[in-house]
Symmetry: C2
Subunit: 115 residues, 2 copies
């Protein structure tokens, strides 16, 4: 259970760190910022990640109102994940992260295959 509301933060960014305490959640947001994805797509892109871990992270992001989960009554199961409006507002953050990463890669020679 995530209980952000019971905590007090000494500075604004702490909320961000509380939410993105691991890179996986932010990476999921990054992937979903390119459009809707199914569980298996995310699993593939985030490899190696176990179903358990991915499932848990998605649940957390949903609790935090950052993504939305849409279940289709099909067999085999189909579940789609999409950024919520609050999640969409993370795009400027992601864009700055991309800009800085590209600068860093250019400066220190780390290869970047694609954006």
């Amino acid at each position: 259970m995530i209980l952000l509301n019971e905590k007090k933060y000494s500075f604004s960014t702490e909320i961000f760190f509380e939410i993105f305490d691991d890179r996986l959640k932010l990476m999921i947001i990054w992937y979903l910022s390119n459009g809707t994805m199914r569980f298996k797509d995310l699993s593939k892109y985030l490899y190696p990640i176990t179903n358990k871990t991915l499932s848990f992270k998605l649940k957390q992001l949903e609790e935090l109102h950052l993504i939305e989960r849409k279940v289709f009554a099909e067999v085999p199961p189909k579940v789609e994940y999409t950024l919520s409006s609050h999640g969409e507002l993370l795009k400027p953050v992601i864009n700055e992260i991309i800009a800085w990463s590209q600068y860093y890669a250019k400066t220190f020679g780390t290869m970047v295959v694609e954006e």
Copy 2:
């Protein structure tokens, strides 16, 4: 040892996640973005953190050229940590993080004491 140069990244933000694989390093950058700090200051602000952990994180950030370490020949020891020019360029990222965190706190009622 951090060997970013030996890795290839499938998208730009991966470098960022590789560097900020834990919240501590980004929090250190956040604190230093307000100015120079000594080891003990950081230790106080990042409480609870052990000397060992803080020392290790600072070493990593220095290896990544994001901070600079200045040793004074004094007793008791005095060491000052400052953002490097590359670290300074993370400020736009931090600013977007602050903006989003404030929006999120306002929307979901999480308290933020100060910026």
